[in-house]
């Protein structure tokens, strides 16, 4: 795994890619997003994303995993150009500034949202929604391309003529994916794209996404709270906690064990039962994630960390390389152990 140095000091998470391609499709540098608060907390700021950098190459999937409030959705939206970062930059195919497309070109970046029912216009036929990114083409071409895109995701023309409420959840999400791929984007941001689906359907849609990636070489930013789903599809995985990346590793490295205590706890909380071993006791963390408004000093995770020491509470650990590009922001990496299988 090769690390790209930006200003000589920072290690930028990213890999040369299993695919062998080295062209960076997404380069996000030092992204920060602040939200100004209103009401009682007026005048104060909430830092949703705090200095996050990532690189994603053609045909790769970057998995971003974290719990609610960790900033993963904000990160995804900045990459998709839906919101502007407070500071830092996103380049897609080396283009600066934001990849937000003009009104008449299909974007280079597309996004698939969590709730398929809410992201399709209830008054439009499926095929019309799917064709929407192709504003510049003629009616006939749009229809043909939309039919083809629907075919790619396994929906036939008959379904294209229906309205969203007449489709099952899985079919709706496939339609959303068809809409995302129709303009041949180089990046698709998948923000909890399968979370609302039933477990069997999740595997189905994930399989479809991987298959599309293999054929079209799009890059994915796969955002989810579900560690297992992220590990199942990603080239490399970034674990986020309270606005910051705490661990970056390639998928095969997961088997060797995660090093950051939060990653380990998150993993243990999901693998609740394993065959032959009966119920597993997960690592129980104290309390809940602190507020991003009154962030504690030092390591953000120290307050809940079972292995925190004094140094963790005074200074924030930097993201450092622990071999083979396995980056961890922790003073005691590997101190918390939990047997995966």
């Amino acid at each position: 795994m090769e690390l790209i140095s930006l200003d000589g000091s920072d290690a930028l998470p990213g890999s040369t890619g299993v695919s062998g391609s080295t062209r960076a499709v997404i380069e996000a540098q030092h992204l920060v997003k602040d939200y100004r608060l209103r009401g009682r907390a007026s005048g104060r700021r909430l830092r949703a994303v705090d200095d996050v950098s990532l690189v994603c190459r053609s045909g790769e999937t970057v998995g971003v995993v974290g719990e609610s409030g960790c900033g993963k959705t904000t990160l995804g939206r900045m990459i998709a150009g839906l919101i502007n970062p407070t500071s830092g930059s996103v380049r897609v195919n080396s283009d600066l500034p934001s990849p937000r497309a003009g009104p008449r070109t299909p974007g280079k970046v597309q996004i698939v949202f969590q709730n398929p029912a809410e992201s399709l216009d209830p008054r439009k036929r499926i095929i019309t929604s799917v064709a929407e990114p192709l504003v510049r083409s003629t009616r006939k071409i749009r229809f043909e391309l939309a039919s083809a895109a629907l075919g790619t995701v396994g929906l036939d023309e008959k379904i294209g003529m229906r309205y969203p409420h007449q489709l099952s959840g899985g079919q709706q999400q496939r339609a959303c994916i068809a809409r995302a791929i129709i303009g041949e984007p180089s990046v698709i941001v998948l923000d909890e794209a399968v979370s609302a689906l039933d477990v069997l359907l999740q595997r189905d849609v994930l399989g479809l996404l991987l298959d599309l990636q293999r054929r079209r070489r799009a890059s994915y930013v796969f955002i989810s709270h579900d560690m297992a789903a992220v590990v199942a599809v990603s080239t490399y995985i970034m674990v986020m906690y309270l606005g910051r990346i705490v661990e970056v590793l390639e998928s095969p490295q997961v088997a060797r064990g995660m090093l950051h205590p939060y990653s380990v706890a998150l993993q243990s909380a999901e693998l609740l039962y394993s065959p032959g071993k009966g119920p597993r006791s997960p690592i129980l963390l104290r309390g809940e994630a602190p507020s991003a408004i009154d962030r504690p000093r030092g390591c953000r995770f120290a307050g809940r960390c079972p292995v925190a020491e004094d140094c963790c509470r005074s200074e924030e650990p930097p993201l450092t390389d622990h071999g083979d590009g396995h980056l961890v922001a922790c003073y005691r990496p590997g101190a918390l152990q939990w047997e995966v299988r």
């Binding site: 609610s68 396994g154 959840g169 039933d198 069997l200 359907l201 709270h225 039962y273 065959p275």
Partner: protein, 351 residues
């Protein structure tokens, strides 16, 4: 059983107990029994539950797993005698300690709900009244079933919140639901369910809306409460792993019917219904192989078009002889061998 020992303290307990004693059955009947229940919702469509038979024994920890639309929530509502107005119990009956719920008097029903049987809902915000403090809601739940002196009541409320792992109790009692986090609200709801020491706890997706690390905390809490009180549990979930941490028996539902029912460990290791096998496989978080992705493409169609249940008019060739729910070795399943359906999946995928 701990719960039994605590009985005399709770006023509401006596009626069902007497009823059980007066029952014809010589042996103690199951705590809760669902007999041949069919439920449909107004507006037509397939019934949400179709001839479901299920008994929950004393001290049993039962997990009901299924995907959306499988009828698991409707079953939980039927068990609690809380079916909404638009749902109709077409056939069958639900018995608590051997007595049909429909024969309960109004006052008995009030003592049953929240007293003998308590629920933990999925949506912790919807489960609490937004304009009343947590303390008052908890007190109301307690007062509905138990008459205590002011001091005793106060200490009981504090103890119940402490038991669910909350700190800064005085502040929590004065807080409104929106002032607490989702995890804390779920703890409050569990405290509210346990405050009257029920015999049966029905938890409908109690951790689905929570983060994984908070889910682990809440599941540990439920497990501790169960082992402390010895009450029975019905846990509804879409996640087999969640059920595995707490339950000793699992029921798999599919489109309103039970397809498999057995001890958790045995069923997990050796599922007899293909649907159970698919759910277990999906829950293990194995890495997807892109080249194999096509094999999964048909899963949805398989699901939607699955004809393996008896009432389908146009069965697949593989499923023509749909087996009845058969009992063997302490488990029940609609058994036709896992291999049959697996090969059906691959064949469809190749096409």
């Amino acid at each position: 059983m701990g719960g039994q020992g605590a009985l005399p303290k709770v006023v509401g307990r006596s009626a069902p107990q007497e009823a059980a004693a007066g029952d014809k059955h010589a042996t103690l009947p199951d705590l809760l029994e669902v007999r041949d229940v069919t439920v449909s919702y107004a507006g037509g469509g397939a019934p949400a539950l179709w001839r479901v038979n299920l008994a929950v024994g004393r001290g049993e920890r039962l997990g009901i797993v299924g995907e959306s639309g499988s009828g698991k929530s409707t079953l939980a509502l039927a068990m609690s005698g809380l079916l909404p107005a638009e749902a109709r119990l077409e056939e069958g009956l639900v018995c608590f300690e051997g007595r049909d719920l429909r024969s309960f008097e109004r006052t008995e029903l009030r003592r049953f709900r929240g007293g003998s049987l308590a629920r933990v809902p999925q949506d912790s915000l919807g489960g609490l009244n937004p304009v009343i403090t947590v303390g008052r809601q908890l007190r109301d739940a307690l007062r509905a079933h138990t008459k205590l002196g002011k001091e005793e009541e106060r200490s009981r409320l504090q103890a119940s919140l402490r038991a669910v792992g909350l700190s800064d109790i005085e502040h929590k009692l004065r807080a409104y639901p929106h002032e607490l986090s989702g995890g804390m609200r779920q703890r409050v709801l569990i405290a509210m369910a346990l405050v009257n020491e029920p015999q049966l706890l029905v938890a409908d997706e109690p951790t689905t809306a929570l983060d994984a690390t908070i889910q682990a905390q809440i599941l540990a809490l439920i497990r501790d409460a169960i082992s402390r009180t010895g009450m029975s549990l019905v846990l509804i979930s879409h996640d087999i792993g969640v059920v595995g941490t707490v339950c000793n028996r699992i029921v798999i539902m599919y489109r309103g019917e039970i397809v498999e029912d057995g001890p958790f460990e045995a069923t997990y290791l050796k599922p007899r219904h293909p649907y159970t096998a698919a759910l277990i496989e999906a829950s293990q978080g194995k890495r997807l192989n892109p080249t194999k992705a096509h094999a999964w493409h048909e899963t949805e169609d398989l699901r939607l078009g699955s004809q393996c249940l008896s009432r389908r008019p146009d069965p697949l060739p593989e499923c023509v002889a749909c087996p009845p729910l058969e009992e063997a070795g302490g488990s029940r399943a609609r058994w036709f061998g896992v291999s049959t359906l697996r090969s059906a999946t691959t064949r469809k995928g190749v096409k």
